[in-house]
C-alpha cells in the first residue's frame, strides 16, 4: 500500500451519490404533499388566478371553515372512533390466537392460518356489497362498530401474523418457567408474556391503525351520516358544492396530520416494525 494513501485523514461528509439519490427521492415524496399544504393556505381566487410556489396572500380561512363546521369536523371524530375501536378489537382477539399458533400444534392449524391470511388478500371491493346487506339486515348500518368490524376482516389476520412472528422470537422456556413458578395461563400471559412482546403489539397496532385510517371503500359504503369518515366527507362535499379547492386541500392536509403524528412517535421503531419480527 502506498504511504500517501495510507496516511490521509478520513474525508468528512462529502456529497456522494447516496446523498443525491436520497435527496431526490425525499423531494419526490415531499413535493406533492407540499403542494397540498401550499394550496390549503391560499384563497380560492389566488389558487385559480395566479400560479405561485408559495401562498402570497396567506390565509387560514380554509381551515377555519373545516374546524367550525360540525359536518366537517365530525368526520374526523367518526374516523378516529372506528379506527380506535378496530385497533383495540383486532389486537385483543389476535393476541391469544397468535399465542396458540406460535406455541401449539393442533388439528388443522396450518390450514386455519392460511385461511386467516387469505382474508387479508380479499379485495375490499368483493366485500362491499355483501357487507352493506349484512350490516343493514342486522341494524348496524351507519354505525362506528360496523366499520370497525368490517376492517377487522383485514386487520385481524394481519395482526395474528405479525404477533405470531414476534412471539416465535420469545423462547418457550419462559412459558415453562412461569408455569413451574405457579402462574396460571392468563396471569402469565398478561404479566409476563405481553410485556415481552410489547414492541410486537405496537407494530400490530400501528398496522391496524394504518389500514383502518386509509381505507375508504368499505367505510364509505357502510356509512351515510352519523358515522361518515372524513375521507368520505371530502369526496361528497367536492361533488356537491362545486370545487372549493382551498377547503379540499385543507381537509386533505388535516387527514395527513394524525398519520404524521403516529409516525413521529414510532419513528425509532419503524425499521424494526416493518420487518414484522421476521428478519
Amino acid at each position: 500500500m502506498a504511504q500517501a494513501t495510507a496516511t490521509r485523514k478520513p474525508a468528512r461528509r462529502r456529497i456522494n451519490h447516496s446523498t443525491v439519490i436520497m435527496g431526490l427521492y425525499l423531494l419526490f415524496m415531499i413535493l406533492p404533499i407540499y403542494w397540498l399544504v401550499n394550496m390549503s393556505l391560499k384563497s380560492n381566487s389566488e389558487i385559480l388566478s395566479t400560479f405561485s410556489l408559495w401562498p402570497e396572500d396567506l390565509t387560514f380561512r380554509n381551515y377555519r371553515v373545516i374546524l367550525t363546521d360540525a359536518s366537517w369536523y365530525m368526520g374526523y371524530v367518526n374516523s378516529l372512533i372506528y379506527v380506535l375501536m378496530n385497533t383495540v378489537i383486532s389486537i385483543t382477539v389476535a393476541l391469544p390466537a397468535a399465542y396458540a399458533f406460535s406455541r401449539y400444534t393442533f388439528m388443522g392449524d396450518k390450514h386455519l392460518f392460511f385461511w386467516l391470511l387469505s382474508n387479508r388478500m380479499a379485495p375490499p371491493a368483493v366485500f362491499a356489497l355483501p357487507f352493506f346487506q349484512l350490516y343493514s339486515s342486522i341494524g348496524l348500518f351507519d354505525t362506528h362498530i360496523a366499520v370497525a368490524l368490517a376492517h377487522c376482516l383485514f386487520n385481524v389476520p394481519l395482526a395474528v401474523w405479525i404477533l405470531e412472528g414476534f412471539m416465535r422470537g420469545v423462547p418457550k422456556e419462559i412459558d415453562e418457567t412461569a408455569y413451574i413458578d405457579g402462574y396460571g395461563f392468563w396471569r402469565f400471559f398478561l404479566r409476563i408474556f405481553m410485556p415481552l412482546i410489547a414492541s410486537g403489539i405496537g407494530v400490530a397496532a400501528f398496522f391496524a391503525f394504518m389500514f383502518s385510517w386509509v381505507e375508504l371503500l368499505l367505510s364509505r359504503t357502510l356509512t351515510t351520516v352519523s358515522a361518515k369518515p372524513i375521507a368520505a366527507t371530502m369526496t361528497r362535499t367536492v361533488s356537491a358544492s362545486g370545487l372549493d379547492w382551498g377547503v379540499l386541500a385543507a381537509a386533505g392536509v388535516l387527514t395527513i396530520v394524525p398519520g404524521a403524528l403516529v409516525i413521529y412517535f414510532v419513528r425509532n421503531y419503524i425499521a424494526k416494525g416493518f420487518a414484522l419480527g421476521r428478519v
Binding site: M29, P96, M234, W245, F274
Partner: protein, 290 residues
C-alpha cells in the same frame, strides 16, 4: 422451535375464528348465493347455475380489465421493488437524517387513499398543479383526463409515490439486521460493492422482499380508490382496473349476479397467486431454519 400438540389451543383461536367467520364467511356465502341466481327485481330470485360464470368468462369487459390489471401490477412491481431496494441501500444508518428520512418516507403510507388520489389529482392539473403546470410550460401535452398515456403514467407515478416506501422500509429493516461483522469481513476479503450486495445484502433481504412483493402484488391487484379519484377509470375504460369495474357493476349497475361471479373469480385468482407466494416463503423459512 418444536411445538407441543395441544388441541385446547383451539379455544385461544376461537375469538378470531368467530369474528373472521362473521365478517368473511357470511358475506362470502351471500356472494356465492348471488352468483348462481338471477333476478328480475322485487327480491325474486331463481336458479341460474353457472351461467354468470360462463358469461363473465366470455365477457370481453372482464378480460380486458384483467389484462389492464395485470399490466399495471407488473409495471409497478418492476419499478417499486428495484427502486425500493436502491433507496433502502442509500438510507442513512442512524442519526437525525435516518429518522427524518424514515418519517418522510412513511408519510404517504398513512394518508387516506382518496386523499392520495386528491393530492395527485391536484398535483397533475395543468392549471393549478405543480407537475401539470411544469410539464405544460415545457410544451408537453399532458392531460390525465384525456390522454391515455398521461392517465396511465399519472396512475403509475402516483402508485410509485404512494408505495415504494413500503418496499424501501421493509428492505431497510432487512439491511438493519445485518451485523457489522459481515461488512467488515467483506472489506477484509476485498469484496466489491456489487459482491457485498449480491452475497450479503440480497440474501438477508430475501425474506422481507418476498413479503414486500406479496403485499405490493396483492394491494396493487385490488387497487380502487386512488385511480378512481384521479381518472375515474378513464379516459374511456383505459384505467378501469378490476376493482373499479367490479364496484361499477355491483353498486353502480346493481348487476348482482355477474358481479358476484366476477368477485369469486377475482378472489380466487388472488388467492391462487398468494398461495404460491406463501408456499415459496414458508419453504424459504424452513431452509433458513437453523
Amino acid at each position: 422451535m418444536d411445538k407441543t400438540v395441544n388441541q385446547k389451543a383451539w379455544f385461544l383461536v376461537l375469538p378470531v375464528l368467530v369474528l373472521v367467520a362473521f365478517s368473511a364467511v357470511i358475506p362470502l356465502m351471500t356472494v356465492v348465493n348471488y352468483s348462481v341466481q338471477d333476478t328480475f327485481g322485487d327480491n325474486v330470485f331463481f336458479w341460474a347455475g353457472l351461467d354468470w360464470f360462463r358469461e363473465m368468462l366470455e365477457s370481453e369487459r372482464m378480460w380486458s380489465a384483467l389484462g389492464r390489471q395485470a399490466v399495471f401490477s407488473f409495471i409497478i412491481l418492476m419499478i417499486e421493488v428495484p427502486l425500493g431496494v436502491i433507496v433502502a441501500l442509500q438510507m442513512p444508518k442512524k442519526g437525525f437524517w435516518a429518522s427524518f428520512a424514515l418519517v418522510v418516507m412513511a408519510l404517504p403510507l398513512l394518508i387516506p387513499w382518496n386523499v392520495v388520489g386528491t393530492i395527485w389529482q391536484i398535483f397533475g392539473r395543468v392549471d393549478i398543479g405543480l407537475l401539470g403546470y411544469v410539464l405544460h410550460s415545457l410544451g408537453i401535452d399532458y392531460n390525465y383526463t384525456q390522454g391515455f398515456f398521461a392517465a396511465w403514467i399519472t396512475v403509475i407515478v402516483m402508485d410509485v409515490w404512494h408505495w415504494t416506501s413500503l418496499v424501501a422500509l421493509l428492505a431497510y429493516a432487512g439491511l438493519q439486521s445485518i451485523p457489522d461483522a459481515y461488512y467488515q469481513a467483506a472489506k477484509i476479503d476485498q469484496a466489491s460493492r456489487w459482491a457485498v450486495f449480491r452475497y450479503i445484502e440480497l440474501p438477508k433481504m430475501q425474506g422481507v422482499l418476498m413479503i414486500a412483493i406479496l403485499l405490493r402484488f396483492m394491494d396493487s391487484f385490488m387497487i380502487y380508490t386512488e385511480p378512481f379519484v384521479v381518472t375515474g377509470g378513464g379516459p374511456g375504460n383505459s384505467t378501469t382496473f378490476l376493482s373499479i369495474d367490479l364496484v361499477k357493476m355491483a353498486l353502480g349497475q346493481f348487476d348482482l349476479g355477474p358481479a358476484a361471479a366476477f368477485s369469486l373469480m377475482y378472489f380466487l385468482v388472488i388467492l391462487l397467486i398468494s398461495w404460491v407466494f406463501y408456499t415459496v416463503m414458508t419453504n424459504l423459512d424452513k431452509r433458513d431454519g437453523v
